[in-house]
Point group: C2
Chain length 248, copies 2
């Protein structure tokens, strides 16, 4: 039995998210079906975590067990042959048998694209959040500074997930302007349900002057969801990288 770790890129526009479910087509399901067509095996694809409908990935990671004899270097192109063109296996590696993409994950990088032009963008419609309002980047960076570190992020989580602890560590937040887009990058130990999208909505409201620095501090201190900003829409979000001990 081999344990295969795969790096995955996908355009989430036409999917109901990562996680297999009864209604709607998901990315996990498409990969499972492709592996079945390739090796004949019914495998479980363990993702590093879920992504919501319309969210994209440039570096999702998953693993699965296989008895196939296909050389590891041939796996990506062989699986891609059976995948739709909005899902791609970028790389495959053979890893220790106890490796699990979710339990072994040590950290993640997400990025988020805000389209900051007056009229909505035709080309970026599925890959960004159209926010045509005034933004002061220095205010956003100051508020981002408050989020960095180890905090209880209960105020930055959507209900509907059950987690033991709502404490997470954010290592870095980068905010970069590039033509008509503002890219925000978040690196952390892990993220609660919708946490990145709520942080993005909060930083945009601060940048626009609609929410104060004090509100952000209170959202962190009191764990009060109403003190944080709105949840930015899914299509601007990209899962860029998942860190593991063996990749360091």
């Amino acid at each position: 039995m081999r344990n295969i770790m795969i790096d995955i890129e996908y355009d989430g526009t036409n999917y109901n998210g990562w996680q297999m479910q009864i209604n709607g087509i998901t990315i996990q399901q498409k990969i499972m079906e492709a592996v079945k067509k390739l090796t004949g095996e019914d495998v479980t694809i363990n993702g590093s975590g879920r992504t919501d409908a319309k969210v994209h990935a440039r570096g999702q990671v998953a693993n699965f067990y296989s008895t196939s004899k296909i050389p590891i270097k041939r796996f990506p192109i062989a699986i891609n042959h059976f995948l739709p063109d909005d899902i791609t296996i970028l790389e495959a590696r053979e890893v220790p048998i106890d490796f699990h993409a979710r339990y072994w994950a040590q950290g993640k990088i997400y990025s988020y694209q805000v389209n900051h032009q007056t009229q909505r963008s035709a080309l970026l419609r599925n890959y960004s959040y159209h926010f045509p309002y005034q933004l002061e980047l220095d205010k956003m960076e100051k508020a981002a500074g408050l989020l960095i570190g180890t905090h209880d992020f209960k105020g930055f989580m959507s209900s509907g997930s059950s987690v033991k602890s709502t404490v997470r560590s954010i290592y870095a937040i980068k905010i970069e302007k590039n033509k008509n887009s503002i890219w925000m990058t978040f690196e952390g130990s892990g993220f609660l349900y919708n946490m990145v999208r709520i942080m993005v909505g909060t930083l945009l409201e601060v940048g626009n002057g609609r929410r104060s620095m004090e509100a952000v501090q209170e959202a962190l201190k009191l764990g009060n969801r109403e003190k944080a900003g709105h949840k930015a829409p899914p299509q601007g979000l990209f899962l860029d990288k998942v860190f593991y001990p063996l990749t360091h």
Copy 2:
């Protein structure tokens, strides 16, 4: 009567190109229909030039005549209301009555995205040419140097268009690597049918060692289509900007 000049962004993926035709939906037609819904007028939308099926634009320019009293600043959002979300009017200006988007154009900038990663990209599938082969950028830049200037580009044109002269001037070609993409930008007085895509195919073949610098020189000197490279596919191409006397 007012003459309205518009800047247009579009995602060409789902269109049969710019130019109205009997079969297939085109961008020109969609804008004509939107203006009709907005002002009630049957207008002709004069584009700066055609773009082929699947080709994109970040700065296509067109003009049309209207008796509408809508304030010029309101035109973009008002037309966008009646357009599908993969076509956007970015700006509108009132221009002299004899201005024509095609006849007044003095130059254009096109850019082309090559996706240079081993496996095809899920996210860039509609916006790039997947070219996973080895490339030497310095060779490509050298060959690009041969194309800059005023030449007879007969060897870099697809048949099927009738033009009086095949002489054009290329002012600049930029080649930039950005993560897994190589962006090529072409600025010139004008471009023959498929000329940018044939220049891209030629530069890629030179970069890959499949075509010599001498072949490029001969293609220019002899006007021989076979000496130039293959025509790169449409989905990597973007019409970025059209220059006019009044915008300088």
